[in-house]
C-alpha cells in the first residue's frame, strides 16, 4: 500500500468521521476464537484521549466522503467544496489490522457518505467487516453504520459480522429533517433499524434452542442526534430519544452538540459555541430515564420544554415537586431514594445495604459519599438536625448554586460525570 496516498485518505476520512461522538467499544461478548487476532469481550478500553478529552477506542473513519446527498449540517454534503477521497475495502482492512496489532485501538467504526445508492454503499461496508472476520480471523470490535434505505438482506449480513450497528437520526424532528436534509426521509432510517432489531430478537431466541447459532450484533444498535442545529427544543429531542429506546431496543442514544461547519443561514454560524453544557444536560436526562426510574413526562412536558442549564435535571425535577419531600433516608423505598438530588445509584445501593444494620445519620451519609450540599434540603435521617425552614424552590436553588459554584462551572466532560 502506498503510504502517502493512504496518509492523505486517512486525514480526510478521519476528519470527516469525527463528528460522530460514539466511540464506545463495550457491550460485546465476542471472545478470541481459534487463536486468532483480538478479543472484544473485554473491550471498552480507551487507548488514548483526544485533546478535547474524548475517549479514543476505535479507528473511526468514513469509507468515503463522496455523497449524493446534501444534508446541510454535514461536512460531507454534496455542495460543500472539500477534498474527497475513498478507501478501498482492502485498505481499511489493512489499517485496522495494523493499528489493532500495535494496541492502538479496540476495533473499527466504519461509516460512509452515500455514493451511488444505499445498497452499493452498504455492500462495501459489509465487505470490510466480512473480510476482517473471515480472512483475518479478527475478533476485535466492529461498529458499522447502517446506511438509510439499505436492503434487509444486507442488514442481515451486516449483523453477522458487526458487533454494533447504528443509524444516526441526526435531526430530532420531522420538520427539521425536511428543512436541513430534504433528500432524506424518516422511513429510510427506520427500515434498517427495524430489520436489525427483529434479527437480534430472532437470533437471541434461536440461540436459546441451538447453541451454535452465530452472534448477531451482540452489542446492539445505537443512534445519534445533533443538538442545536435545527432549533429543536429539549422536549422534542428527548421524546424522540425515548421513542427510539422503546421501539427499537436501542443500547444507546448519543447527543452531539452541533459544531458549526457552514455559512448556510439555516444553521448556527461558524464561530458560534458548541452547546456542550446543553449536551451534558441531555445525557443526564437520558440517564434519569434509563437508570433512575423517571418517566420522560416528569422531566420534560408542555409546561417545561427545556432543561435548566444552571442545575441538573434531577434537581430541577425535585424543585418543581417539593411536595414529595423531605424523604426519610431510613424508610424510603429504592424508587424514591433514587429521586433525591445529590444521590447517585451507587449511594442508593449503599444506603439500602447500610440501613439494615443501623439507622443512618448525617455522618453515615457523608461517609457513603452523598453530596449533602444538595441532598440536605430534601431529606431527613436519624438526627434532629434537618432543614426546618419552609424554603421556596427559588431559595433552595439559590443556596445550592451558592455553595457548589465550582461544580457547575468547572470543566465539563462529555464522558458523563453525573449526579455523584
Amino acid at each position: 500500500m502506498s503510504f502517502d496516498r493512504i496518509k492523505e485518505k486517512l486525514n480526510i476520512l478521519a476528519d470527516a468521521a469525527k463528528y460522530d461522538v460514539s466511540c464506545s467499544s463495550s457491550g460485546s461478548n465476542r471472545t478470541n476464537k481459534n487463536k486468532g487476532l483480538g478479543d472484544a469481550s473485554s473491550s471498552g478500553i480507551c487507548h488514548t484521549y483526544t485533546e478535547d478529552g474524548r475517549c479514543v477506542s476505535l479507528l473511526k473513519i468514513l469509507l468515503t466522503n463522496h455523497c449524493i446527498f446534501d444534508c446541510a449540517y454535514c461536512v460531507t454534503r454534496k455542495s460543500n467544496d472539500i477534498k474527497r477521497a475513498a478507501f478501498k475495502v482492502q485498505e481499511v482492512v489493512d489499517l485496522t489490522i495494523n493499528f489493532y496489532r500495535r494496541n492502538y485501538i479496540e476495533g473499527l467504526f466504519l461509516s460512509s457518505g452515500i455514493f451511488k445508492n444505499a445498497d452499493y454503499t452498504m455492500e462495501r461496508l459489509v465487505a470490510v467487516a466480512k473480510k476482517l472476520r473471515l480472512e483475518e480471523n479478527f475478533n476485535g470490535y466492529i461498529h458499522l453504520k447502517s446506511i438509510p434505505g439499505a436492503s434487509d438482506e444486507l442488514m442481515r449480513e451486516a449483523g453477522l459480522y458487526a458487533d454494533r450497528l447504528s443509524v444516526n437520526i441526526e435531526i430530532p424532528t420531522e420538520k427539521g429533517l425536511k428543512l436541513l436534509a430534504p433528500d432524506k426521509n424518516r422511513a429510510d432510517f427506520l427500515k434498517p433499524m427495524k430489520k436489525v432489531k427483529n434479527e437480534i430478537i430472532q437470533y437471541k431466541a434461536e440461540k436459546k434452542i441451538i447453541k451454535s447459532t452465530p452472534k448477531y450484533a451482540p452489542a446492539g444498535q445505537s443512534t445519534q442526534m445533533i443538538v442545536g442545529a435545527s432549533g429543536e427544543n429539549d422536549m422534542e429531542i428527548m421524546y424522540t430519544s425515548n421513542y427510539f429506546y422503546k421501539n427499537f431496543n436501542l443500547k444507546r442514544v448519543y447527543y452531539s452538540g452541533y459544531v458549526p461547519i457552514s455559512y448556510d443561514n439555516r444553521l448556527p454560524q461558524i464561530g458560534s459555541p458548541v452547546p456542550m453544557l446543553r449536551e451534558n444536560r441531555l445525557y443526564q436526562t437520558d440517564w434519569l430515564l434509563r437508570f433512575y426510574g423517571f418517566n420522560i413526562e416528569e422531566i420534560l412536558n408542555e409546561n417545561h420544554k427545556s432543561l435548566d442549564l444552571d442545575i441538573d435535571p434531577k434537581l430541577g425535577w425535585a424543585l418543581r415537586n417539593l411536595h414529595e419531600f423531605p424523604i426519610d433516608i431510613n424508610k424510603a423505598d429504592k424508587r424514591m431514594l433514587a429521586r433525591i438530588p445529590g444521590l447517585g445509584m451507587k449511594s442508593v445501593y449503599k444506603i439500602l445495604n447500610a440501613r439494615r444494620y443501623r439507622n443512618l445519620n448525617w455522618e453515615h451519609l457523608k461517609a457513603i459519599g452523598v453530596a449533602l450540599n444538595r441532598a440536605k434540603y430534601f431529606i431527613i435521617c436519624a438526627s434532629n438536625e434537618y432543614e426546618k425552614r419552609d424554603l421556596t424552590a427559588e431559595k433552595i436553588k439559590g443556596l445550592i448554586l451558592q455553595n457548589s459554584k465550582s461544580k457547575y462551572t468547572s470543566t465539563l466532560s462529555n464522558q458523563l460525570n453525573l449526579f455523584g
Binding site: 478521519a14 495494523n98 500495535r102 466532560s413
Partner: protein, 256 residues
C-alpha cells in the same frame, strides 16, 4: 527481639517469610527485600530462601478464609512495591488468620484499609498499561513495547495481552524493573534483555524495527490529530485522562 527476614522480592518469597514467621512463632518480624536490606546490630537476621511449597500453604490457607477478590487485593497490593508493603500485608494476614470470621474487607482495620488503597492504585495502573502499551514491529516479527509503569504490573497484564494477541509474537518490557514478558505463540515467558548502549527506547531505529513501522506510527499520529475537534478543545481534561508521565512511549505523542 526483633527479627529481620530477608527475601528475594518475589511474591512466593514473601509468602515463605509469612510461613517461617508462623512456623517459628516469631513475634516482631520485619520482612525486607534483599535490595533494601540495611544491616543493624539490634536485630536477628535471617535470609529466607523462597520455597514454593511453603508459600502455597499460606496461600491455600488464605484461600479458605477469604473471597477470591480479597485474595487478589493482597497480591495487587504486593505489586505496589511500596516500601512497607510486606509488613502491612504480614499484619493483615495475621489478623485474617486470627479471626474466626472473614475480616478481609473490614476497612476499619488500618492494614486492611491500606491494602485496599494500594491495590486500587495498582489496578488503575494495570488498566492504564492495557491501554497505553504501544507495540512496534521488529525485524524479527515481534511486536515490542517498552513501559515504565509506576507499579510492577507485568504479571497482571499478561493474560489480557495473551488473550488478545494470540496470533502474533509480542514482548512488553518494563525498563524500570528490567524484565519483560514474551509471548512466543505458545506461552508467556519472563525474559531479561541486554540493551545495546546506543539503544534509545523512545526512538524507532531502522536497525531494529521493520520498514513500515514508522509509517504506521505516522498514520496513527495523524489519525490522532484528525479526530480532534478543535472547537471543543479541553486540554485539562485530556491530561487528566492521559497524564504526562505516560507520554514518553505513546506513539501519538512523539514529536514529528
Amino acid at each position: 527481639m526483633n527479627t529481620i527476614l530477608i527475601y528475594d522480592g518475589t511474591f512466593d518469597g514473601f509468602l515463605t517469610c509469612v510461613f517461617v514467621s508462623f512456623d517459628q512463632k516469631l513475634k516482631d518480624v520485619n520482612i525486607v527485600r534483599e535490595q533494601f536490606f540495611q544491616d543493624t546490630f539490634f536485630a536477628k537476621k535471617e535470609t529466607v530462601i523462597t520455597q514454593k511449597a511453603k508459600a502455597d500453604r499460606v496461600w491455600v490457607g488464605l484461600k479458605k478464609k477469604i473471597k477470591p477478590m480479597e485474595l487478589s487485593r493482597l497480591y495487587y497490593a504486593f505489586l505496589s512495591e511500596s516500601i512497607t508493603v510486606e509488613n502491612t500485608l504480614f499484619k493483615a494476614i495475621q489478623y485474617i488468620f486470627k479471626s474466626d470470621v472473614n475480616v478481609a474487607s473490614n476497612f476499619a482495620n488500618t492494614h486492611i484499609l491500606e491494602i485496599s488503597k494500594l491495590s486500587k492504585s495498582v489496578g488503575r495502573e494495570k488498566h492504564r498499561m492495557e491501554a497505553f502499551v504501544r507495540f512496534k514491529l521488529t525485524k524479527d516479527n515481534i511486536y515490542f513495547a517498552n513501559i515504565e509503569p509506576d507499579f510492577n504490573v507485568l504479571p497482571l497484564i499478561s493474560k489480557h495481552f495473551k488473550n488478545r494477541y494470540a496470533d502474533q509474537k509480542w514482548m512488553i518490557y518494563d525498563l524500570k524493573r528490567n524484565y519483560g514478558i514474551y509471548y512466543n505463540l505458545e506461552k508467556v515467558d519472563i525474559v531479561t534483555l541486554e540493551f545495546d548502549a546506543k539503544y534509545n527506547p523512545t526512538h524507532t531505529s531502522k536497525d531494529i524495527f521493520c520498514e513500515q513501522e514508522l509509517e504506521f506510527q505516522q498514520l496513527w499520529k495523524d489519525y490522532f490529530k484528525s479526530t480532534n475537534i478543535v472547537s471543543r478543545k479541553n486540554l485539562k481534561l485530556h491530561k487528566q485522562h492521559v497524564p504526562k508521565r505516560y507520554w514518553k512511549y505513546l506513539s501519538e505523542k512523539q514529536p514529528n
